[in-house]
């Protein structure tokens, strides 16, 4: 009983905060708005900790909060499923959210929309918690769309900027494309299983392994269809190729939300969802293959784009895309726990990298171009060290958290035998080099080398950037404290948790792996502790690739900056493909957005205006008018006209009469 009120407290506390700051922000003022929201998110975090201890003691929960709706014999409910997967997500979400809340005090200091911002991020926390705590598909969809809404609101937070409101509409619509598939997947689940409750669906799924999907004209397995449709939803939310296009643009939002929503939590919802659905995905190798290939494409090709970005946030954004690809590949290889493990470590180090980027942006007076930075380590030591930690974790340096999760993914993919696993393995291994290269390119350009800030730069927004001669300085403690607090798990969490999460029985109840998929089992046999794993990695390919990437970045951007310029000139074709992000945005704008607008105008002008209104409606009106015009002609008002017609009429009648007699 007591625990159940705690379950409720976790999502509701941030909701109350959101409502307080959103509805009464003006009354509360800035300070009280952030105090209340931060306190309530902290409450949520500590409650999650208590629940974590309880869950670890073996107390799982699956129950209804209230009945939302019923129809036929189905009841649609709002309810919680509290198991180890849920509670891990709850901890990650509330912890990162708490850090971001604190950080926001510093980052949004001068913004007129201060209270609104706190309201939104608390609302996001609520939505995300409802998503991860759901015990049924409908509530999952609720949370799914709700986080999408808050993401929309936050990307467009600076709503007077044309780029921001373009990006948020784009993000919402691209996500809607994913949700379109997601909702149809849910529809199939409801139709076949008669319920949307996870537990009943999962326990009955194996009865449908050989069934075909009830889709007329398409011959595909039922579970394959369900899984792929659900995964299309994940492709939208977790920005997988080809629905990835919204994520880089989402960087238009303020940096704290890039960390919270577009790196640590919301974009991992798709990964979480697939892991949650493991009892379904395990029954369809086709779907798993599909997942793996999509993830591999994203992991490698989005990484390439990170290399040529000059906007500090966009580098991190492309690295997020690529890392989400890694997680997705792991899902496809049935290494759900590795995916979720990487989700967790990534949440810490990527939130750290984003918040550090934000700290740099503050110091640079909102100039985000890394070509205008350099040598910042002297001025911002905390940001520098924490960024270095984040980058080392990201590229998979042994003993850092990212190493354990990423290496596990690579190993798991290597052991997969599904179609496409060869390509996926190549993609994730090659991706290691790419990741290290762009991460350290950014790191060196920002923190080392020549100080390029404070110069006159032309054609640039005069509100941004340091004035000539002005020096950057370290940001205030509300900004650096979250950096430090995030740096600690970025280093340690992998070493501590790999054994229970990946090879122990942490996810025993939550994640199901079919007996035909034994990547994790094999890995468990080879695992001899976290320490040995890191040592062993020193003689493995990924480590040398990562080192190679970092060293190349150092050589190319610190020692010989002329070489990248030469490469850019020599290979201008490849460069412009990358610079145009493989032309996806252009194609989408032209084909989908332009096409829809064109079709709309055409259909309207032709269908509604010309055909229905022009021809039928007004046409029949004209027809009536014509008839009446003819009839009116008879109403001349001259008696002799009427008499004439009368005579004709009478004689006609008489003629007819005589004929028929």
């Amino acid at each position: 009983m007591e625990m159940q009120s705690l379950y409720l407290l976790v999502p509701l506390a941030p909701l109350v905060g959101a409502l307080a700051a959103g509805l009464f922000g003006n009354v509360l003022g800035r300070a009280w708005s952030h105090r209340i929201t931060i306190a309530l998110v902290a409450v949520s975090f500590f409650a999650s900790l208590v629940i974590y201890r309880d869950v670890m003691a073996g107390h799982l929960f699956n129950g209804t909060v209230y009945k939302w709706m019923s129809s036929d014999i189905t009841s649609f409910e709002v309810g919680f499923l509290i198991d180890r997967l849920t509670v891990m997500m709850m901890l990650v979400v509330t912890f990162v959210s708490l850090m971001v809340h604190i950080y926001t005090i510093g980052y949004m200091e001068d913004d007129p929309g201060y209270q609104r911002f706190f309201s939104y991020i608390s609302l996001f926390t609520f939505s995300m918690l409802m998503l991860v705590m759901a015990n049924n598909f409908m509530q999952l969809f609720f949370g799914w769309e709700a986080v999408g809404l808050v993401s929309y609101l936050l990307i467009g937070f600076w709503y007077t900027r044309p780029t921001a409101i373009y990006a948020n509409l784009k993000a919402f619509l691209v996500n809607r494309v994913g949700d379109f598939g997601f909702l149809l997947g849910i529809g199939l689940v409801l139709m076949v299983f008669g319920t949307l409750d996870y537990q009943s669906v999962f326990t009955n799924a194996h009865n449908y392994v050989n069934d075909m999907a009830p889709i007329p004209g398409v011959s595909v397995g039922l579970l394959t269809a369900i899984c792929i449709l659900l995964f299309i939803g994940a492709m939208g939310k977790s920005a997988q190729f080809p629905l990835h296009v919204w994520l880089p643009d989402s960087m238009e939002g303020p940096t704290p939300i890039s960390a919270l929503i577009h790196a640590a939590t919301m974009v991992t919802a798709g990964i979480f969802m697939v892991a949650r659905m493991s009892p379904l995905f395990e029954l369809s190798d086709t779907a798993l293959s599909f997942v793996m290939v999509i993830g591999a494409i994203t992991a490698l090709f989005m990484g390439f784009l990170g290399i040529i970005q000059n906007d500090i946030k966009r580098v991190v954004a492309y690295s997020t895309l690529s890392q989400l690809g890694y997680m997705t590949v792991a899902l496809g290889a049935s290494a759900y726990s590795a995916a979720v493990f990487h989700l967790m470590t990534h949440a810490f180090f990527k939130a750290l990298l984003f918040l550090a980027a934000g700290s740099v942006i503050i110091a640079m007076h909102h100039d985000q171009d890394i070509r205008n930075m350099g040598g910042l380590r002297k001025y911002m030591p905390i940001t520098w060290i924490t960024s270095l930690i984040g980058s080392l974790a990201l590229i998979g340096t042994p003993f850092f958290s990212g190493f354990y999760s990423k290496d596990s993914i690579i190993e798991a993919v290597g052991m997969s035998h599904l179609p496409g696993s060869g390509f996926a393995y190549f993609a994730v291994v090659a991706g290691v080099f790419v990741t290290a290269f762009y991460s350290f390119r950014m790191y060196f350009l920002v923190f080392h080398g020549e100080e390029r800030f404070g110069k006159e730069h032309h054609g640039h927004d005069e509100h941004h950037g340091l004035a000539p001669g002005q020096k950057p300085h370290e940001t205030s403690w509300v900004v650096t404290l979250p950096l430090i607090l995030l740096a600690i798990p970025s280093v340690l969490i992998g070493f501590i948790t790999i054994e229970p999460m990946l090879f122990g029985d942490y996810f025993l109840d939550a994640i199901y792996i079919g007996s035909n998929h034994h990547a994790l089992v094999e890995m468990r046999e080879e695992f001899h502790g976290a320490f040995a794993m890191a040592l062993h990695a020193l003689v493995s390919l990924p480590f040398w690739l990562a080192l190679g990437g970092a060293v190349s970045a150092w050589f190319l951007y610190m020692k010989r900056p002329d070489i990248p310029e030469t490469i850019k000139r020599k290979f201008s074709g490849i460069y412009s493909v990358l610079d145009n992000k493989y032309y996806f945005d252009r194609f989408n704008d032209w084909f989908f957005a332009g096409g829809a607008r064109g079709a709309s105008r055409l259909l309207w002008k032709f269908g509604d205006v010309k055909l229905i209104d022009g021809f039928f409606v007004n046409g029949s009106a004209r027809l009536v008018g014509m008839f009446s015009g003819v009839l009116r002609g008879f109403q001349t008002g001259y008696v002799y006209h009427y008499a004439f017609w009368m005579i004709i009429g009478v004689s006609a009648l008489l003629t007819v009469r005589t004929w028929f007699e």
Partner: protein, 497 residues
């Protein structure tokens, strides 16, 4: 009957009486009194309908709160009223909107105030009459009478092209109604001299072709009102020319009357024809969802855009009816109620802008959020509801209909679910151009945010939209028995031999 007085008669006649009373205040010197009386009347009329919900017996699909008196004994026509689990909701929805419309027009309408308020009150009573009439002739009288106040509202308080729009509206709907009258007379004849709608439900029909003809006659009347493609083009014109209150009632209530007709007449009276023609109905519904959804995208007039969005959303209603399962049917009914709230709210939002800038063109706006943040927040909520966001009422019906459509045929659901993309695209694109961005012109720069009167209206609608989105059970609960019985009835062939 509860508390000893005839509730349904009260729901019908109380607003009409108050309407006449308002008319009696005469010219605009007494405008203040006219407004006050209208508001009191509207609120009272809403309050008398509340016992219909609280006192409703959910276990039966029989008609409740029945009143039965002779009217024209010679033709066996009765004053027969009653509600079941479906119609009761629409009486409430209609009565809920009347006070809102009165408040919304409080300051905006300055000319012929009494007549304006009276028209809405009288219309509200007549619409309630449509929903509660159990005698076909009585229904027909209310059905036709209801057109008159709306015709006047558009024709008198409307925009520059109001006469064309009013006439189009009137002729379109009248044409359909006449065929319905023919069908009713045929049914009267077949039933051996009864105008009881419930007798029509029970009685067998001589042949499938007879059913089909009756179905088509009803279809002509109801499809125009819904409106279904291709007889929808009167709606954008009517909305554009109608004053705000007129648009609100048109979208929130009038469109529901057509859909209600399908439930009360077409489906139960001609179940076999309904099955036979279901593919046609489903096709028309899906065209409404997809084609109209696309057409809405490039509308430059906000009212036209929301009008097209209404047609697209009503496509879900007719789709839900004709896939013949509980998800679809209940989803359709919930969609009707939700669409009332959401479309009504959107027209009020556009009205708020129109009152200030006197333009409905999207290009005349931009950056409104800067000057009207509170309004922008309300508008955002309703725009999201129109995009079917979970947690708002707009989600419930669409979700259920899509779930039902998957059951019927996956591809129906596939096409219907495209609204997830189109609906969001046209609504949020409009929102973006109107509300977001930099301030584009002087009109926008001088906007002032909504006042308490406008806030009040929006708060009521917010409660409705969010309440229904977060907890639709009370709306669905009351209709279960009736819907299930209707589905059983529909599955039983009623052709003789």
């Amino acid at each position: 009957m509860i508390f000893g007085y005839p509730l349904l008669s009260a729901a019908v006649w109380l607003p009409i009486l108050f309407g006449l009373l308002v008319l009696a205040t005469g010219n605009d010197r007494n405008a203040k009194m006219a407004r006050t009386i209208a508001l009191v009347g509207a609120i009272l009329s809403f309050l008398v309908t509340i016992p219909l919900y609280t006192g409703f017996d959910r276990m039966t699909s029989d008609m409740q709160f029945v009143e039965m008196k002779d009217w024209i004994a010679r033709f066996n026509i009765h004053y027969h009223l009653g509600v079941d689990g479906i119609s009761v909701l629409f009486v409430l929805l209609n009565s809920f909107f009347t006070p809102l419309v009165v408040i919304a027009g409080w300051k905006v309408i300055e000319k012929r105030v009494a007549q304006y308020m009276a028209a809405f009150l009288i219309m509200s009573g007549l619409v309630n009459g449509v929903f509660v009439a159990l005698d076909a002739m009585l229904f027909y009288v209310f059905w036709e009478a209801m057109l008159i106040p709306m015709f006047i509202i558009i024709g008198v308080w409307g925009g520059p092209n109001r006469v064309y729009a009013a006439l189009k509206f009137f002729l379109y709907t009248l044409l359909g109604s006449l065929l319905m009258l023919v069908a009713l007379l045929y049914l009267y004849h077949q039933s051996g001299g009864s105008f009881e709608i419930l007798d029509f439900h029970r009685m067998a029909m001589p042949s499938l072709s007879a059913q089909i003809l009756v179905f088509i006659a009803f279809f002509m009347a109801f499809s125009v009102k819904v409106p279904m493609v291709p007889v929808h083009t009167w709606l954008p014109d009517a909305h554009v020319e109608a004053p705000t209150g007129g648009s609100v009632v048109l979208a929130a209530i009038m469109l529901k009357v057509g859909a209600y007709g399908f439930i009360r007449f077409s489906l139960p009276i001609t179940p076999d024809a309904s099955h036979y023609l279901a593919p046609v109905m489903i096709t028309l519904s899906l065209i409404a969802v997809v084609y109209i959804g696309l057409v809405a995208l490039t509308q430059s007039d906000m009212k036209k855009l929301v009008a097209y969005s209404s047609i697209s959303h009503m496509g879900f209603v007719t789709l839900g009816f004709f896939i013949f399962n509980a998800y679809g049917m209940e989803g359709a009914l919930l969609q009707m109620i939700s669409h009332g709230f959401v479309a009504g709210a959107l027209f009020l939002c556009i009205g708020v802008l129109y009152d200030r800038v006197h333009s409905r063109q999207i290009v005349d706006y931009g950056g409104v959020a800067k000057k009207m943040p509170i309004f922008a927040a309300f508008f955002m909520l309703f725009a999201m509801a129109n995009s079917g966001l979970p947690g708002t009422s707009g989600f419930v019906g669409e979700f259920m209909v899509i779930m039902g459509a998957v059951k019927a045929n996956f591809w129906y659901a596939f096409l219907a679910a495209s609204t997830l993309i189109f609906g969001a695209a046209y609504t949020l694109w409009m929102y973006k151009r109107v509300i977001f961005g930099a301030i584009t012109n002087d009109h926008v720069a001088h906007l002032r945010d909504i006042g308490n009167r406008e806030k009040l209206v929006f708060v009521f609608l917010t409660v409705a939209v969010l309440g229904m989105g977060l907890y639709p059970l009370p709306f669905a609960d009351i209709m279960h028995t009736t819907v299930n019985d209707l589905l059983v009835h529909l599955a039983t062939p009623k052709v003789l031999n």
